[in-house]
Symmetry: C2
Subunit: 327 residues, 2 copies
């Protein structure tokens, strides 16, 4: 299985700069230019990291907890938790309501990365510049840490969410379960495995992306809006926003792989062509892929119309940043 190119790592801090204003020719240019997406992301990540540290403290049996914390608290931009907090605030909620859901999203993400790296999956010895969990703790402990993070995610949302009607918390739990389960992330992974070395069409490529990386991003946005008290229509709008942004990330990734040098990317360029991987440029050509990316960012931005401008700013910036990124 080809590993997703870490969505969480896209916001490489060194090159992180707000370039959105140059692309978005609209009346909010000034506001947009003044907003510092990098600082916003760092702020939210700090908040989430402190909550994660409290949610998964070092306890007996220590080895298990160390292994969980190694993957949970390691480097990462906390994109999914931040999306949940931003969506909660977008619909007028207090972000405190979304902190447990935000933590659960990162736990589920960490679980999926531990499993992705296993010898029977991608067999990766390294993750984010450090030994992968099974290389650091052994394969048996890594498997158990994955299960523990998975279970803790649901327990944490159910037990730690405060000030939110129980019906809403249940809806968020159902969202999280569906995003990971047999018609979610895992479905995308198995279709990816089954497609390896085969010529696949646009429908299968999109299915893999929408499930493997898209579903958890969708759930992040939807859960944030649900616990924040959004209407059904609002929840569906942020869900569609996240779906477009998730796909956009993959499409831009495919473009960068063929248009940039390894030096510019900070990782090996041309890997997709070399590995025979099916990509958007391969299926629809570079021009049409670029046009598709623009269409996705427009669709994502459109879903934010009608929400409070200030609260929508971070999400509008995130979409534009992903579209315009050069590595």
């Amino acid at each position: 299985m080809v590993s997703p190119r870490g969505f969480s790592n896209l916001l490489s801090s060194a090159r992180f700069a707000v370039r959105s204003a140059s692309s978005g020719a609209n009346l909010e240019k000034t506001t947009v230019a003044q907003f510092d997406l990098s600082a916003y992301m760092v702020d939210k990540a700090h908040l989430v990291n402190a909550a994660l540290d409290r949610a998964a403290p070092l306890r007996y049996p220590e080895r298990l907890h160390e292994s969980m914390r190694y993957s949970l608290l390691g480097p990462g931009k906390r994109v999914r938790p931040t999306l949940a907090l931003a969506s909660c605030e977008l619909v007028g909620g207090d972000q405190a309501a979304a902190i447990p859901v935000a933590c659960a999203l990162e736990m589920l993400h960490a679980m999926s990365l531990i499993n992705d790296d296993l010898p029977c999956m991608d067999n990766d010895d390294f993750r984010r510049g450090r030994p992968s969990n099974h290389r650091a703790f052994g394969e048996d402990t890594a498997v158990l840490a994955g299960i523990a993070l998975h279970a803790l995610a649901f327990e944490h949302v159910a037990a730690a969410t405060a000030g939110v009607p129980a019906e809403r918390v249940l809806r968020a739990i159902a969202e999280l379960g569906a995003a990971v389960g047999p018609e979610g992330l895992v479905a995308g992974q198995i279709v990816d495995i089954e497609s390896e070395g085969k010529a696949v069409g646009l429908d299968v490529l999109e299915y893999i992306h929408l499930h493997k990386t898209g579903r958890l991003l969708e759930a992040a946005a939807a859960c944030g809006a649900i616990v924040g008290g959004g209407t059904d229509a609002e929840v569906e709008r942020v869900r569609r926003y996240a779906r477009h942004v998730g796909l956009l990330f993959q499409v831009v990734d495919d473009v960068l792989d063929v248009t940039k040098t390894s030096e510019e990317l900070g990782k090996t360029a041309g890997k997709d062509v070399a590995s025979g991987k099916t990509t958007y440029p391969k299926l629809m050509g570079l021009d049409k892929t670029r046009a598709f990316a623009e269409e996705l960012v427009r669709k994502a931005e459109k879903e934010l119309h009608g929400f409070d401008g200030a609260m929508a700013t971070p999400l509008r910036h995130l979409a534009r940043y992903i579209a315009d990124r050069e590595n």
Copy 2:
């Protein structure tokens, strides 16, 4: 790691007979003698199997769903789901309220068995007389099926439980998460792994049993009582009942290993001594172990006092059956 000797398989149907009356010298002797535990268990298992079939239908991607259904719907006595249904009825609830929780318990149990059998864990090629999941579907698919069952368990409880106040459903979800997570089943497994080949004391032996097999049985009983509308005191009583019964099963298992022949057991006798495994007879001698088993069954029965006699009958029988079983 030494595999638990399938709690679900204890009720081997061929030898399943109600012997409880001979041991329980009390006023309810007649009622007890008339109760058919075997038929009760078969009835509940049928109900649960039909619900599991509906909860995890065969869908795209088929291979993933086939792998999930292979472990979920395979042979087994559905002990945990039955415990949930019986506890729900014990506190006066309608068992329909506990069906989703019962399904979730079996999904979590199936997930733990898939993972137990993996090459990096017990490396078992067979489970319940059939190839283990990773032998039948490949290790990558088995790992993904485990994750899918895990996520589906929580989604299912959150989305499918009907006619139960949302607060209770949330409590049940927190129970299930805690039973599997870093201070539950997984904690027991890692301590078991760490204890391999070491001389451990009674405290560690009990920790392993209470977590590795006990916590999910406790959660089964507690969740059934919670969704059935039991009081806090009632929930704690059925939880303690399940804890005693779970430990009782392990203690009796240790006794049978040293007192019965392989022929009588239907499996290799003397395995514990041969493998150097720490057991109760090894630590406290055979007589004290037998006395401990009797103490556990008395404690389990005591927790059922005060509940409606007819509704407590199945659980009283189950405890006595486990104590008196000879294989």
